[in-house]
Each structure stands twice: as structure tokens, then as C-alpha cells.
Subunit: 441 residues, 2 copies
């Protein structure tokens, strides 16, 4: 996972809904109400005629976000890693090839492949997942079971379920080295499971029985991680949500026991809620599949069909334009498109940080990328922004006063002088953010 | 929910996957291998050209089930309520109007409506849910919050989460009168939550603090249920998955605190994994929404867009053909189509039971249906089949030997001389089933 997820702590109404909702409402009341109303009016359900489904769809399609557009005075919400940056790519030529048509009678059954270990996995999705990993070279898929989940968040919980002993023993300890993804503690503990429990920073843990969550590249700070705990009966779950060429050099094909991926951060389709896992051990894969059966009786086939079509469009895009040198046309090469965006955004962010003088960022991490076949820097999906200014001990609050919503270090097991900032929002929101940042001193 | 779900008990590899998988494989090895291969070859991902997306889709569409077709000698699996019976309807005229087209750039954000309590609910789905309830009159939606879930199974868990006290108190007791839906115990207990725990048959429970699951019409036996526990601090969750006119007379608009529905059993689209809840109390709705945020960061927008289109096609079908008398054309009236099927199937089943002489079924329950505006009988989605033959104490096993897979009474808190049989499978499977049943004596 390592996606975004909710704010931890607090009971009940906190988190994503409240945070984004409250701010969205405040913002819209202040200056975006007309724009919001316009947006809502453009939404999906309009006409009533049958006939030309294709033409109808063009008139009826929904916007890709329920968020109002930003203006120069807006509150800019970069708390969540909402990957709307990718929309421009999918509105181009590749998007046409990713369009999906689902007739009313299709995929009505619970089952996708009744003889398969993961009986709710569409065979076409599995094929495209394997094909994409072969193209990118970021993970070994041969010899692994492919599982599908409702986002990798569900697969993360499935892994905890599968790796915890079923007996009446004490709960399995779940750890991750700080700074860790802020949702790990909340998602691990929200049901007070007797099977597993959050046990904090892996670097401080000294027991023998644990699951270590290894998020690499790391959410929040973009660093490359390996398991820090290697003794005892521990097992690692590798969250590779960001191990894609637009964010980091692909230095080798990962081959860990359990590897989690998601379309959200690979292709930008967060709303599709579709993740997958590559799992080596058959019994673990079976138990993970069982979790998803009990939790949601499988995974939406509509999402699976769509994700398969999207992954296919990406791989086909590279089959079509295999030349690595032709940097002028990225319209069918997703990773090139996204990398160019990330390079440009990081350059703007570093310039703003330099202009301001009160912030610092992690150093650039270069490496040889086997996919790009050149040495490139990492351009993480989140900026881990630290403030050195005297008196600013709560950087999240400091930025909030300046109408920038970020996620404070405390939620990642770090201090309050650092925040996580999404680098994946719209061009408009990002541009306003860097302008404001540059003016702080 | 009350959908289908897994077999309870047992650790690990049991349940739906294993059950259906093993049998599917055995069956296919025996006589269906060629047909299965043919099916798989017809699957979604074929061509590579761009251009005419609509035409392409027609050539590429997937079958709606990963199950091999049945033959006269097949194992007939009626364990799960897989609602493939509905496929014929959606292949007709109404299906054309339910076709959905999703362009590559659509609904990429996590958010659907950032200012809403349920921020991941597509506004168009909410509109169609309310419209359908107004048409059918089975539930009051005005004044209720609408929540969306990955099937109603997820909403059931969300309700348990929302209704359990967050403090360090003992887990909330979860009860339901036997025979209860077999997934309730398994789904309640699989994570050994400290918030809630399965406490069995509501009729045997004598505590004060509980959640009572009221499934009406009841899965497995089709009976109309009301909460049996009315004292103390108990709260009821009404699982109304089957409160639709094809299964039971709609006698009044339900107006309970929490009501769960699912497209699986209303329209037959189980693979879409889409349920909704009508919730009266705002704080409960917020906590349920929070559960879904933590569990899966919302619900697939592709599923939501599709479900909205399907519900719209149903309601439009009645707007188009409002005459109640014209029973000859059900091609755009889902509930009439499905009811006609259920009437026919129940007649065949009762005839087979009479021919056999060793089985009994629950009595027919007539009532005045406000939707049909006439007195009709109930035709439940499951047959609760009891065997009086000497020596048959394990009816599930007895039928299995005769290549009929059912779910035994023990899993519903009942005895072994009764089983639950799905009435919603394909015409072919159902016909073979009743033929075999009639021959047993």
C-alpha cells in the first residue's frame, strides 16, 4: 500500500473524510462554490436515450475528482497522495486505448476462474500484471502467485492475516522503521485484532516474532529500504507501491516473499481501488486470498477489467515506441511522461526551497536504472520537507496557517519539524504550492 | 449482506475457493476440460488495434463466470448464491442500456465528493439508489444517509465497527436467530477483533449489550424476520439483501436504523461487489464510512459507475413500461423477469420434491405486494430443503454423493437433515438439479 490513507489516532470522525471534507467545504464556501456547482452539474448521469452508447458516454462522463478546482487563494491540500497529475496523460492518445466498455451482462458471477487459487482474479488482469513486470523489470513475477486486492491496503491486511499464527498465542508484532507510512499503525490496529498489533519503529523493536513492513522507495521520505530486522522468526512484507521508473531508478528486479503493488501510484488510477501482490509461498497466498474472500468476497471485476486494460495500454505503448532516445513524444509512454513531470516538479520545489531559505529536502539519490538504461536520480512521489526556522516546532500547523495542508511528521513516527507533501496533485495546485513556499522566510 | 460467502470454521484453505475450486477441477478433468479451455480462450484480452473501441469491445468481452458449463453428468454446485440466472435479462434490450463506457482518464481521484460524509460515494450512484427505492417502495431513503461498500459484506463489518464501543470494554456480542446466514459467524470472528465477537443464536442470548443481525427475507430459509431481542442496549442491523419484489411481497417500506442492500441479489451483478447502506444516525454513518476508509480507502468508482448505470436501466425500464398488466414483455422490467423465473423454478422444485417423496420445503408465504399491487407468494432465492428419509443425518453429504453441492444446516446453526440450495444459478444447472432430485427416493 503506502498509498495515502487516513490520519491515525483519534476516535471516529477524523481522517481523510473529515480533513478533506471540512477544508473542501470551507474553501468552496469562500471562493469555489460556483465552480463546485458547475463541476457537480457536469457529472455522470444526464440523458436518457439509449442508442449510441459510445457517443452518449462522451457527453456523460464524470470528472475524475470530487474536488473543486483551485484558485490563487485556495487552500491547497497536499495531505493525500491523490495522483491526479496523471490525468493529462490519460486524456491523450494512450487514454483512448485504455477506454473500457462493459456490457450489462458481463462478469456477473462471483467467480473469475473457479479452478484458481485466487478464484476472483480475472485471468486477463494476471496476464497484464506479469507482462508489465517483464517490461519494467522491477519485480520477478515468474514463480510467484498473483493475488488481486481492493487496493494494496486490503492486501496489506491480508498479509497480516496470513502471517499471524491462528492459535491462541499473543498477537503478532507489526513493525516498520520510522519514518513509516502513517496508515500502517491505524490500519493494523483499528479492529483491535487478536491476531496482530502495531508495535512501532522496527529499529526500536527487540522481539523475535514480528512482521516487518518494508516500504521501498519509502513513503514518506523516498529512501530505498531493506528489512532492518533479520533475526528470529520475523517475516518481511515489501510494499513496493512506488518502485516504478518515474519515481526511482529500477536497479534490480525485486524478488521478496511478499511484494505489494497498486495501480494508484503506478498509473494514477486511485479511484479504481486495485492492487496486486506477488507471493512466493502457496499457503501464504491461499490465506491472503481467504482474507479477501471473508472481507469483501473478492474484488470488483469492473475494476479488474479496467486495470487490465490500463496496464495493457501502458505496455502496448512501449511495444509501439520502443526507442529509448525519442524523448520528444511521451504521449504513449507513461513512465517517460510521469518521470518528466516529476523531474520538472522537483526542480521547481528545490528552487522554491532555495528561494525561501528556511526549508531542507532529502538529497537526490542517483542510480543506474535498468529500465531507462541510464543513471538517473530518484524523484519521490512525496517531499519530506523539513523546516529549520526558529520557533516552528509544528510545521504542519505553520503551513496550514498559510493554506497548505500537509501531513505532520508525528504521524510517521518522526518529529513535528518535518511534513510529508504530495508531489502528485494537479499542475495548478502544485504551482500555487511552490509559489507560496518560495515566499516563506 | 446475506449474500453467499465462505464456509465457516476451519483454518486456512477451506471455503469458497477450495470448495468450488476443487470441485470445479474435478468436474473439468472428468468431462469439461475441452469446454473450459474453449471458455478461457474466449476471454477478454485479444486484439491489439486501437480505433473502434465499441466494435472491439463486442469482440473482446469476457464471459460472465469463471465456471465451466454444466452437462448432464456434471457436479452441480448450488452452494453459493451465484446469481447468474439474471444474465439472460441483461443480454436483452435492457442490457444495451446498462452498458458502460469508462474513458482512461475518468474517476482517477480517491475522492468522489469531497464535502460529503461518505466522500468516496459517487453522487450519481446515490441518486439512482434513492430513485430505485422510490420505485420499489421497499425502504424509506429520505432522511437517511446513503453509504457505499465493496459488497454489503463490507458494510456489515462497517456496522459492527460503528456500533461497538471504542473503549477497553469487552467485545460487543453479535447475534442472529438461527437459522442464520452462515457467513455471519465467520466474518465476525475471522480477525479475532477486540471490538466485537460472534455470540450465536439470538434466541438463546440473554445479555443486554449486543448487535442483532436481522436478515429478512431470511438467508437461508426465506422467512420474514423481525428483531427477536428488544431489551437492553441492543441495536439491530437489518440485512435486506433479498427484500426485492422477485423474492417476496413488498408489504411496506422498511425504515430501520441501519439497512443493508446489495446489487448482487437485486440485479444479479455479484462480480461488481457493490452494496449500499441506508443509515439514519449521522454519527453511525460517519463511523461506518471511516471503516471503509481504513479497510479499502473507499470503494471502486468503476463499480459505482457501473452499478449506477444498472440501477438506472432498471428504473428507466419501469418508467418506460409502466403498465402493470402487460405481463408478456418483461424484457425491460427486471423484477417481472426475475419473478417469472422464480415462480417457474419454485414450481419445478416443488414438483420434484413431490415426485421424490423424501423431501420437504417451507410453506409458501403469501402477502399483498405494494409494488405489484396484488397478493403474491414469496419465492425465496434459496431453498431450505429438509430430508425425512431414515438414516440421512448428513443431507449435504447425501447430496454430494449424488453430485449436488449444497450447504449443510450445521453452518446455519441448524441440524444436518436440512441444506440450503441456491435458486439463482443458470437454467441448465437448475434443470439438472431438479431432475436428479425428483429421482431420489
Amino acid at each position: 500500500m503506502a498509498a495515502m490513507g487516513s490520519k491515525d489516532g483519534g476516535g471516529g470522525g477524523g481522517g481523510m473524510a473529515a480533513q478533506a471534507g471540512r477544508l473542501g467545504v470551507v474553501a468552496s464556501v469562500a471562493f469555489n462554490l460556483a465552480a463546485l456547482a458547475f463541476y457537480l452539474r457536469r457529472r455522470y448521469f444526464g440523458g436518457d436515450d439509449a442508442a449510441a452508447v459510445r457517443k452518449k458516454a462522451e457527453a456523460e462522463v464524470a470528472p475524475s475528482s470530487g474536488k473543486p478546482p483551485v484558485t490563487k487563494d485556495s487552500i491547497i491540500n497536499l495531505d493525500h497522495g491523490d495522483p491526479t497529475m496523471y490525468e493529462a496523460f490519460w486524456r491523450g492518445g494512450a487514454g483512448e486505448r485504455a477506454t473500457i466498455v462493459i456490457p450489462g451482462w458481463q462478469t456477473m458471477s462471483y467467480f473469475s476462474d473457479v479452478g484458481s487459487l485466487c478464484w476472483f482474479l480475472e485471468p486477463g488482469l494476471e496476464r497484464e500484471v506479469r507482462r508489465l513486470h517483464r517490461l519494467v523489470g522491477n519485480a520477478v513475477a515468474d514463480g510467484y502467485h498473483v493475488l488481486v486486492g481492493t487496493g494494496s491496503t486490503q492486501l496489506f491486511q491480508a498479509a497480516l492475516y496470513a502471517l499471524s499464527p491462528p492459535g491462541p498465542s499473543a498477537p503478532m508484532n507489526v513493525v516498520s522503521p520510522a519514518p513509516y507510512y502513517s496508515s500502517y499503525p491505524a490500519v493494523t490496529d483499528f479492529l483491535k485484532s487478536g491476531l496482530y498489533r502495531w508495535a512501532g519503529d522496527a529499529k526500536m523493536f527487540d522481539g523475535d516474532t514480528y512482521v516487518e513492513l518494508v516500504c521501498s522507495p519509502s513513503n514518506p521520505d523516498g529512501g530505498i529500504r531493506e528489512a532492518v530486522l533479520k533475526s528470529g522468526d520475523g517475516v518481511a512484507v515489501h510494499d513496493l507501491a512506488y518502485y516504478w521508473p518515474q519515481y526511482t531508478p529500477i536497479t534490480s528486479a525485486a524478488a521478496h516473499d511478499i511484494m505489494l503493488f497498486t495501480v494508484s501510484k503506478c498509473t494514477g488510477h486511485a479511484g479504481t481501488r486495485l492492487g496486486w501482490a506477488l507471493v512466493k509461498d502457496r499457503a501464504v497466498a491461499q490465506k491472503m486470498s481467504k482474507f479477501i474472500e471473508l472481507n469483501t468476497i473478492g474484488v470488483s471485476k469492473d475494476s479488474q477489467l479496467r486495470a487490465a486494460k490500463i496496464l495493457k495500454a501502458i505496455t502496448d505503448g512501449y511495444d509501439r515506441a520502443p526507442a529509448a532516445g525519442d524523448d520528444d513524444d511521451d504521449s504513449s509512454r507513461l513512465f517517460h511522461f510521469a518521470r518528466r513531470k516529476m523531474v520538472s516538479r522537483w526542480a521547481k520545489l528545490r528552487a522554491a526551497v532555495a528561494a525561501s531559505g528556511i526549508f531542507t529536502l532529502p538529497d537526490e539519490l542517483p542510480g543506474h536504472c535498468t529500465f531507462a538504461n541510464e543513471t538517473v536520480s530518484a524523484y519521490p512521489p512525496f517531499a519530506w520537507l523539513r523546516c529549520g526556522k526558529e520557533g516552528v516546532d509544528d510545521l504542519e500547523g505553520y503551513l496550514r496557517e498559510r493554506k497548505i495542508i500537509s501531513r505532520g511528521g508525528g504521524k510517521f513516527g518522526a518529529d513535528g519539524r518535518v511534513v510529508r507533501i504530495s508531489m502528485l496533485d494537479t499542475d495548478e495546485a502544485f504551482a500555487i504550492f511552490v509559489d507560496r513556499l518560495a515566499a516563506m522566510n
